[in-house]
């Protein structure tokens, strides 16, 4: 090994500042706040734009189902369960386990498969248990919920990618799981806003965004998380 090479590498490292573990912890906390704020802000903006007064000012129509009342217990149970699933998804997507190479492909694939299934099962199960809102709403196919989910998830998706930063093994799959995790948080927003549990509506408006976000996450993961040669 040449001393010249060693000196060159150490000098290059010294010339480039890099965050220590404590810096990364602070930075990730800040990014977490930004993710939460962007998701919450997007939710508030979207619901304000979709409010009765705003829609009427724009000459739009207000459908009566928009104000369908749900029991508080149903909302709390449904959102609470989704929150637990979303937190688990974020833990799976952002923590690497005990290895710097991240979680194994099998675990990531299992997680990616279980996330949407468990969210859908929980939503439908809660609605059946509370005997509410499983009726068809043909005038609400789900495009507003789709838009809400994508709008709310954009900030968390980028923030989660920034927190993860690098995945030398399976960057696309890691990105897809990050997309699912961001989608799981957007699911909570859609669940809070939308009273409909009609399954075709849930599939299009609530579940499809998870697929879209997973695809976007995979593309962004491959582009941003994989180490690149210069």
């Amino acid at each position: 090994m040449s001393e010249e090479l060693r000196a060159r590498v150490l000098a290059a490292a010294a010339a480039e500042t890099s965050p220590t573990r404590a810096d990364v912890r602070r930075r990730n906390l800040l990014i977490g706040f930004v993710a939460a704020a962007s998701g919450l802000g997007a939710f508030v903006i979207f619901t304000a734009l979709m409010s009765e007064g705003h829609l009427l000012r724009l000459g739009g129509q207000v459908s009566p189902d928009q104000y369908l009342e749900r029991p508080v217990g149903l909302v709390a149970t449904s959102v609470g369960g989704a929150l637990v699933i979303a937190a688990t998804a974020a833990w799976l997507a952002l923590r690497r386990g005990r290895s710097m190479l991240g979680r194994s492909r099998g675990r990531l694939l299992w997680g990616a498969a279980l996330m949407p299934i468990s969210l859908l099962a929980w939503k439908v199960g809660c609605s059946i248990a509370f005997g509410a809102s499983m009726v068809a709403w043909p005038e609400r196919p789900g495009e507003r919920c789709l838009a809400l989910s994508l709008f709310v998830a954009a900030g968390p998706l980028l923030s989660f990618l920034a927190i993860r930063r690098s995945a030398p093994v399976q960057p696309a799959l890691n990105g897809a799981v990050i997309g699912f995790a961001a989608g799981a948080f957007a699911w909570i927003a859609a669940d809070l806003w939308c009273p409909i549990a009609y399954v075709p509506h849930v599939l299009l408006g609530h579940l499809l965004p998870l697929g879209v976000l997973a695809g976007a996450g995979a593309l962004l993961g491959r582009a941003l998380l994989a180490p690149r040669s210069k």
């Binding site: 060693r6 150490l10 930075r27 290895s99 710097m100 190479l101 093994v169 399976q170 180490p227 210069k230």
Partner: protein, 197 residues
């Protein structure tokens, strides 16, 4: 075949842990512990001394940038190998694109550039050994990438099946199968060499 030892790797893990906490001097220890093995890994992968030095520098700088996310107790070498492997793939892809753009350079030229100069040995057995080593290297180069990577990580880098599987992002049984197939192919080269002409 290189003799595999794990000396220094525990030291590398501890040095990386100190570096992650902010001890700037620990990077030198990380370098000393992993750079020789990393360079051998990269030389085998690229067969180009200057390219491998450049990629090793990039790998270590990548680790430097990511030091804050280093997990306490995590082994450093599989991480370094995974980054290096990704950089080799990316650099080869980039080279192919450049070759396509400057099409006067034949696509196979990099192999020629990386080929080691023929050694001149007087003794017949030395010549025979050299030829055999060349044939084995050719066979290693001709192996499918998945088999070659598995074989190199296990036989040359001394990683366990589990660690190699993590680096390659696959299962232990898949790595075992790939390394076995590579070994079978290389044994065939040795058998052919032993046959009388």
């Amino acid at each position: 075949m290189a003799v595999i030892t794990n000396e220094g790797l525990d030291g590398a893990d501890a040095a990386m842990e100190r570096y992650a906490r902010g001890d700037a001097a620990a990077f030198g220890d990380v370098y000393d512990a992993i750079a020789p093995r990393l360079l051998v890994f990269l030389r085998r992968a690229t067969r180009d001394a200057s390219a491998s030095e450049d990629l090793m520098q990039q790998t270590l700088l990548h680790m430097h940038r990511a030091r804050g996310s280093f997990i306490p107790g995590a082994p450093v070498m599989p991480w370094a190998c995974a980054i290096a492997r990704r950089l080799v793939t990316d650099s080869a892809r980039r080279r192919r694109v450049e070759q396509r753009l400057f099409s006067e350079i034949p696509a196979d030229d990099d192999r020629m550039m990386y080929a080691p100069a023929a050694a001149t040995a007087a003794a017949d057995d030395l010549l025979h050994a050299h030829r055999l080593a060349g044939r084995i290297q050719q066979r290693i180069d001709a192996l499918p990438e998945l088999q070659r990577n598995a074989y190199q990580l296990i036989r040359h880098e001394g990683l366990s099946l589990k660690r190699a599987a993590e680096v390659l992002g696959t299962t232990v049984s898949a790595v075992k199968l790939r390394a076995h197939r590579a070994s079978v192919a290389l044994r065939a080269v040795l058998r052919d060499a032993e046959k009388p002409a």
